[in-house]
């Protein structure tokens, strides 16, 4: 019923069995040999599916609002695609590098994680270059007197020496380029998280929750350049990442009874409906009257920077229902209709970067052509088609590479499975 036991059947059960703390016989499923880790079998398509979905939604959310924006989940509740993305990233990263940690050693696992961090960092710098190109263009070609004030944002171009160095230090981060730095920091912490998980998963999760609480209590944050703070506070968002890792390493299986209970289901449904109602009041202000003032004051603002508890619980409710109603062997996962999503989810780092780039390009086209809602929708759709096409090309490359005998690489741990961006 849970993600974990289905993802892995054998692999994770083996992982769990290897941990001294988890000596419970439940961990050792009959088909799972206690310690040996068989080669990665069938992929968990649900993870790919939802990560692909998150990538599409992030792309659409980065474009100016248009028709397709109404299909993104942020309009129907508190949480949005970022939560899905970080959770699945934590899950898959723990899954892949947790194996390395158990099979090889702490040093080897750390080395592999650092290589991945480097890839993500390079991707981030690449995106920053594109951003610089765009902003420089706008700065020289756009002088509408209506927006003299907003053009103040270009001031940083006057000090490229400082700005570019700050960008390389991840302290200067333009809008829409917040996810990769968050992911870099989380991945840097991953060796520690896995090492601690290997020792005691529950304590690790508790520590993570403690850090989250401390972040709220003492207002901890990462400072940014020229001022302000990181738009996604890693000290808060780590909770979702660690929770993903915890689920991957056996937590989800241990929660399966809770997840299967109808009480959980009804609580989740009630919460999601309530959240939907609250979001409805944002778009239909007339409904605002039916909303008790006291609840409003308690609830707002729903903070994205520090991963508001309301957002986190909303994600949990969605995940609980998803796991319940979308079994691992659901035949639809093999259907050609979901293939594009799954393909994109399987190459998440590349497709994420492509999505950010396409969002920049989409803005640019809209600015130059100014085509109205039809053009908007067209850009969103073609962006998604491009993401699908590129994902297909990447997997074609991999298939070709596999055929020419680079199989060893896959056995070690597929970087894509570890999740990007």
């Amino acid at each position: 019923m849970t993600i974990a036991d289905q993802v892995t059947g054998s692999t994770i059960a083996g992982t769990a069995g290897a941990k001294p703390v988890e000596a419970k016989p439940v961990a050792a499923k009959p088909r799972a040999p206690a310690i040996t880790l068989p080669a990665i079998g069938e992929r968990e398509l649900r993870l790919d599916l939802f990560r692909g979905l998150a990538l599409w939604l992030i792309f659409i959310d980065h474009l100016p609002p248009n028709l397709l924006t109404w299909f993104t989940i942020r309009n129907y509740g508190f949480s949005d695609a970022t939560e899905i993305f970080i959770f699945i990233s934590g899950y898959t990263a723990a899954f892949v590098y947790g194996r390395a940690m158990l099979e090889s050693s702490f040093v080897i696992a750390t080395a592999r994680i650092l290589r991945r961090v480097w890839q993500i960092y390079v991707a981030h710098v690449f995106l920053f270059t594109i951003f610089l190109a765009e902003i420089s263009y706008v700065a020289t070609s756009f002088e509408n007197p209506l927006y003299t004030e907003e053009m103040g944002i270009m001031d940083f171009l006057k000090q490229p020496d400082v700005t570019i160095v700050q960008a390389l230090l991840l302290r200067f981060r333009p809008v829409n380029m917040d996810v990769l730095p968050l992911y870099i920091v989380l991945m840097l912490a991953l060796p520690l998280i896995l090492w601690s998980m290997k020792w005691r998963p529950d304590v690790t999760l508790a520590l993570s929750a403690l850090l989250y609480a401390a972040t709220w209590e003492f207002d901890l944050y990462f400072s940014a350049y020229p001022n302000g703070f990181w738009a996604f506070n890693p000290l808060a968002w780590q909770l979702l990442f660690v929770f993903g890792a915890w689920c991957a390493l056996g937590g989800a299986r241990r929660m399966s009874r809770i997840l299967a209970s109808p009480v959980t289901m009804w609580i989740s449904i009630a919460y999601i409906v309530a959240a939907f109602y609250v979001t409805l009041t944002w778009y239909v202000p007339q409904l605002g009257h039916l909303m008790p003032k006291r609840i409003e004051q308690w609830m707002y603002p729903i903070d994205k920077t520090d991963l508001d508890v309301l957002r986190f619980t909303h994600f949990l409710a969605l995940a609980a229902l998803t796991v319940r109603f979308l079994p691992r062997d659901w035949p639809g996962l093999k259907s050609p209709w979901l293939r594009p999503l799954i393909l994109c989810g399987q190459h998440s780092l590349e497709i994420f970067c492509l999505g950010v780039f396409l969002a920049f390009a989409g803005h640019f086209i809209l600015a130059e052509v100014s085509g109205g809602p039809g053009m908007h929708a067209l850009i969103s759709l073609s962006g998604i088609l491009i993401m699908w096409g590129v994902a297909w090309v990447i997997s074609w490359y991999k298939r070709v590479a596999d055929k020419s005998g680079a199989k060893t690489k896959n056995a070690v741990g597929n970087a894509d499975l570890a999740g990007g961006g």
């Binding site: 100016p64 070609s141 509408n144 007197p145 907003e150 703070f229 007339q286 003032k293 409003e296 600015a367």
Partner: protein
């Protein structure tokens, strides 16, 4: 609520239809481009002091505090405060004197602006203050919590000085959307408005509405002031209507 929506509709229709009847008027009919769905102009919060002042026939002093998006470079008379003054003079009883003054605090964050309010209010004593803020904070990505604190303090200072307050949020600026993150500042202004029962003039949503409906092309790179003038005219009209509604000074209400 229904009544209020209806009322707004009536008011809007009224202001579309009325001007031709008043010949020689300084204010021509609202261009169709200014049309807005009524909910964008609806507010639950009231402007009691404005209502009292107008009912008592005293002069209405309005102070607009804002950053550079409150002006149009080198055409002050076309900026929204000036337009609002013209429309208010037209819509309020002829005996009513309306005076709008503008205090530009360019490149100041909400916190920096709020620091000047006590002195400013001693000097001016307006009945109504329209505080446009958020843009500078968004450009400098000030911590939204600090921003909320600063707006709260500013609103309190203005209220303590005995003025009604209207908050005005950022402009919708599609060209810089990939560079300036407006949502946290929009949300926090909404929160402060709610907590302090202050009407929020949602300039962002209105401009987005105009852009989405094709009334204005806000992506336009045009260097001429025409677009800015038209947009400010519409904002001035909407703002005047908003003040009249929030103070319950519409023709229908005055008859009661």
């Amino acid at each position: 609520m229904k009544a209020k929506v209806l009322l707004s509709l009536v008011l809007i229709c009224g202001c579309l239809a009325a001007p031709p009847a008043r010949a020689g008027d300084a204010v021509p009919a609202a261009p169709a481009a200014c049309e807005l769905p009524p909910y964008l102009l609806a507010t639950d919060s009231q402007l009691h002091k404005v209502a009292e002042t107008v009912k008592a026939g005293k002069p209405l002093e309005i102070l607009v505090i804002g950053s550079r998006s409150t002006t149009i470079p080198s055409s002050e008379d076309s900026s929204y405060p000036a337009r609002m003054q013209a429309i208010l003079k037209d819509k309020l009883p002829p005996a009513e004197t309306v005076h709008v003054s503008v205090e530009i605090q360019s490149k100041k964050t909400a916190e920096e602006a709020a620091g000047t309010f006590v002195k400013l209010m001693e000097a001016k004593t307006p009945t109504l203050v329209i505080w446009q803020t958020g843009t500078v904070d968004a450009i400098r990505s000030i911590d939204p919590d600090d921003f909320r604190g600063a707006v709260t303090e500013g609103v309190a200072a203005l209220q303590n000085a005995g003025a009604d307050v209207v908050l005005m949020n950022l402009q919708y600026s599609p060209r810089t959307e990939t560079m300036i993150s407006a949502p946290p500042y929009l949300d926090n202004m909404r929160v402060v408005a709610q907590e302090h029962d202050v009407p929020l003039f949602d300039r962002f949503a209105m401009m987005r509405q105009w852009n989405d409906q094709g009334q204005f092309d806000l992506f336009s790179p045009s260097r001429g002031p025409e677009l800015a003038k038209q947009v400010h005219d519409c904002i001035g009209r909407a703002l005047a209507q908003f003040v009249i509604d929030a103070a319950h000074l519409g023709p229908a209400q005055q008859q009661n």
